[in-house]
């Protein structure tokens, strides 16, 4: 992972730390909102606990990774893979829309978008 701040990258309490939950009810509620999931109030504690277990398991890696090891984002050491700027045929509109749950006037039709204005 990069050094990008993320609500998901909660710092573990220590190497393999297990002292107290590091994911709060509020964290779960916030993540649920970002994922547009309806999570019931009584589920918040349960998911906080479960996510905590996952985070602490992953944090075990931090215990063995020394400071001199760069965070890895790619498994293969490749750089500069480029494509030529040449148009190639893609899908026809019929092919593209055939896979859509709903279509209208050559466009993908999606349900009402709630709570957003872009």
């Amino acid at each position: 992972m990069s050094a990008v701040p993320s609500t998901e990258q909660v710092e573990p309490t220590g190497p393999g730390g297990t002292e107290h939950p590091t994911v709060s009810r509020e964290d779960v509620a916030h993540l649920a909102h970002l994922a547009r999931l309806a999570v019931a109030d009584e589920e918040l504690d349960r998911y906080a606990e479960q996510l905590d277990v996952i985070l602490h398991s992953v944090a075990a890696v931090a215990a063995v990774a020394a400071d001199d090891i760069e965070p890895t984002s790619h498994a293969v050491p490749l750089i500069n893979v480029y494509r030529e700027d040449v148009v190639r045929p893609g899908l026809t509109p019929e092919e593209a829309l055939a896979m859509a749950p709903a279509a209208d006037a050559g466009r993908f039709r999606v349900p009402q978008i709630l709570g957003e204005e872009q």
């Binding site: 547009r36 700027d85 509109p93 039709r109």
Partner: protein
């Protein structure tokens, strides 16, 4: 733009906001401009779909830009080169190594549920752009220029306003999804005070000029290939701490950039003066009203949960490649202007007015089409400028090409048209009546150059006013005006006055 250009409706909309001068007296505006430029590559950023503007919906899509399972993106090398070109022209450092990142959000304009962008590793960073504002140069520091992809186009159906609110469903066209973008982010621009709106406009205009000269985008704000978000906050005069900023989107013309900044200064000042707080939010610019309206409360950078894109390998432009691109950069527009000014022999003032009216390239093209520089300048800066002004458009948006202007100039110099007739021909071209020669033909505008026709008109005029001939013979040459006037009337203004004068004198002899 000055406030004098506001329409009555715009003035009315300003009623509930602070007066601009009072706002500026109490607060210092801080500007931040984010400009998106759609690159003019043939294909999209990560797939080989075409990028043609205005194609039928979903005719330029493939498994990659529709995010079908298993489809893998590959970077368009030309887009990277264009991004580097923009970075270099903005005096930026070019990252020797950088990655793409996923910006996660839920919105159907990206079928992937994320937009591929760059986060903390932009391809270009720490540059500047010198912006002419009136007689001064304002240096705008550039924070970064990063690569990303455009989103699809949504149409909201069922709402009264065509917006999401009240819509029953939305329709998506993914032709634009994946078109390469470069986002250019300025550092906060401080200390501009009352000229902040003008600086905002001048910055975007200069950037447009620069990017166009690089040949990497057609930078058409009306078609969305250049878009601007105006960030603005106010800080009490003299206070070094920035206030809460708003981000105004949908700012689709240079004039709107200035109006949006101006409106936000007035609106925020009125909220703050009344003891209120500014919400950090996205606002929408309403072109018609000239106002901004509240949109959503902005998600923070953390909420986008950026992480490095695992499906794309890092971009690591070699120093050699970057230097090659630098060496091949075209002449920058302001350097080119200095050269053209020398070639054309224009004064500083003439050149500055032409530049401010964004007419340099138009004059250059008119000259290239065979017209004299002075004639070309005078057409674009007087008659055509008036037409553009009254239509509220840029010179370049007028429905006449530099070649057509050159053709009209040619008809005047060959004596086929008088200046007055030439203006009518231009009116015809602007009205869509065809090429200048066709307009001359259709409207019957050619100068009456047939000497016998003119002679007949002169003879008739002299016969009708016998005393005039005597006056002229006795030395009162100015009396000839009566004859010239009569002839012009008889030929419906289509005679060359100098010619009529010459023929009349010969007749009286």
């Amino acid at each position: 733009m000055t406030t004098a250009e506001l329409t009555p409706a715009e003035w009315a909309a300003l009623d509930d906001v602070a007066d601009f001068d009072e706002a500026i007296a109490a607060f210092d505006p801080v500007l931040g401009l984010e400009v998106h430029v759609e690159l003019g590559t043939a294909t999209k950023m990560f797939c080989s779909c075409a990028t043609t503007f205005g194609a039928e919906p979903n005719t330029q899509v493939c498994p990659v830009c529709l995010a079908l399972p298993g489809a893998m993106p590959v970077v368009n090398g030309t887009a990277v080169e264009y991004a580097i070109r923009i970075g270099l022209a903005l005096n930026c450092s070019i990252a020797p190594w950088c990655r793409f990142a996923r910006k996660n959000y839920f919105y159907p304009d990206m079928p992937k549920n994320f937009q591929t962008s760059q986060y903390d590793e932009p391809i270009a960073f720490d540059g500047y752009l010198d912006v002419p504002v009136g007689d001064e140069i304002v240096r705008v520091e550039i924070e970064r220029a990063h690569m990303e992809e455009d989103t699809g186009k949504s149409t909201h159906i069922g709402g009264a306003t065509g917006r999401i609110h009240g819509a029953e469903f939305s329709l998506l066209d993914y032709n634009r999804a994946g078109v390469p973008l470069v986002e250019i982010v300025s550092k906060p621009i401080v200390g501009t005070k009352a000229s902040a709106p003008e600086v905002a406009r001048a910055y975007v205009a200069t950037l447009q000029d620069l990017v166009r000269s690089l040949g990497v985008s057609d930078v058409r704000m009306d078609q969305g290939s250049m878009r601007c978000d105006v960030n603005l906050s106010l800080t009490p005069a003299g206070n070094p701490v920035f206030g809460t900023r708003t981000e105004t989107k949908n700012v689709n013309s240079l004039r709107s950039v200035e109006r949006a900044a101006r409106f936000e200064i007035c609106r925020q000042a009125s909220v703050l003066t009344a003891g209120g707080e500014i919400r950090q939010e996205t606002r929408h610019f309403d072109e018609l009203a000239g106002t901004t309206a509240s949109g959503r409360v902005k998600e923070t950078a953390e909420d986008y949960r950026y992480f490095p894109e695992p499906d794309l390998v890092p971009v690591a432009p070699s120093a050699q490649w970057v230097e090659q691109i630098r060496a091949a950069l075209p002449e920058l527009p302001w350097v080119r202007r200095e050269r053209l000014q020398r070639d054309w022999g224009f004064t500083d003032l003439e050149m500055r007015d032409l530049t401010n009216a964004r007419g340099v390239e138009l004059v250059a093209q008119t000259v290239a089409a065979g017209a004299g520089a002075g004639d070309a300048r005078s057409w674009w800066m007087s008659y055509l400028a008036q037409q553009a002004n009254s239509a509220g458009v840029e010179l370049s948006e007028l429905a006449i090409t530099p070649a057509q202007v050159a053709a009209v100039i040619g008809l005047v110099s060959s004596g086929s048209l008088t200046a007055a007739l030439a203006r009518k021909v231009v009116d015809g071209v602007l009205a869509g009546e065809g090429e200048p020669a066709e307009v001359v033909e259709k409207r019957g505008l050619a100068v009456v150059s047939d000497d016998s026709a003119l002679q007949a008109a002169i003879d008739e005029a002299l016969a009708a006013q016998p005393d005039v001939a005597d006056k002229i013979r006795s030395g009162k040459v100015q009396a000839i005006g009566a004859i010239v006037g009569a002839v012009m009337k008889a030929t419906r203004g289509q005679a060359d006055a100098a010619k009529v004068r010459e023929l009349t004198l010969k007749t009286i002899g």
